[in-house]
Symmetry: C2
Subunit: 160 residues, 2 copies
């Protein structure tokens, strides 16, 4: 039983690693040049602080997921893992939400503030960013599952 539980958590951590790595790679490769009349228009992730933050959050998430996957079973650091999981989950949630908020303005614009949508000009770039955010969202959900799983495992024997 304990072995099945361990394998399940390991699988979730491997999935979290995959999701954060994909999110980071898809975001960092999002780039498009577009010409409107005579003006060349370049869109890339580094033009938007929220996307840079999303990238950094997912790189930290990926490195952390990788380290935990290869943490020896007898390590003292396992004591900290649930607490660090909470912090990493919050970091990933924060990066994903900030990127999504900006991507939404890019897609729909905000007429009150006079911010025009840019996705009609750089459609491929917007799809790329959308893909990165979807992967980031998957990472967040996997970390949430991991946390609920840890809480269930640790708390249930105490409380039931």
């Amino acid at each position: 039983m304990a072995k099945t539980k361990g394998i399940c958590a390991l699988l979730l951590r491997a999935l979290a690693l995959a999701a954060t790595v994909v999110a980071a790679i898809v975001m960092v490769t999002s780039h498009e040049k577009s010409t409107l009349f005579t003006v060349t228009f370049e869109a890339k992730y580094s033009h938007t602080p929220a996307f840079k933050y999303f990238l950094v959050a997912n790189i930290i998430g990926a490195v952390y997921s990788f380290m935990v996957l290869f943490l020896p079973a007898e390590s003292m650091l396992w004591r900290l893992v649930v607490a660090l999981d909470v912090v990493i989950t919050m970091l990933l949630t924060s990066g994903m939400s900030a990127a999504l908020a900006i991507a939404y303005v890019g897609k729909k614009g905000n007429t009150y503030a006079g911010w025009l949508p840019i996705c009609d000009q750089v459609e491929k770039y917007c799809q790329h960013v959308g893909g990165a955010i979807a992967a980031g969202f998957a990472g967040v959900i996997i970390y949430l599952l991991l946390l609920l799983y840890s809480i269930h495992n640790v708390l249930n024997p105490l409380l039931v």
Copy 2:
């Protein structure tokens, strides 16, 4: 010892309630009319989906904090509290990050996307929103502390 711990958690929950209520009230009252030449310009939180999301997240956080504060000690629902704390913390983090990302564009603009800053026109509104985000941030930090505290309390006796 157990009593001191209980009081400490209760205090943190009361602070979380205060922070989320303040964040919601300050956001919902952010409103400014400004006239530039002959054009009247109105800014309010409901013009920005991210700010509406921030408000909803903080209202849910406030209602949850309130309910937990008055949950009877013998209730079966205490089993769910740590898991619900995780979900509420993620919701508050997400709302705060989305609102902050948009507020940053409002303050600094984004020249690449052609989005102009609007805070010069509606300075009072921007300060108001900034205050709401600061209170929201306080709520997030208090919930993080609560979570780390629960993890420390529950896991330490098992692991040490």
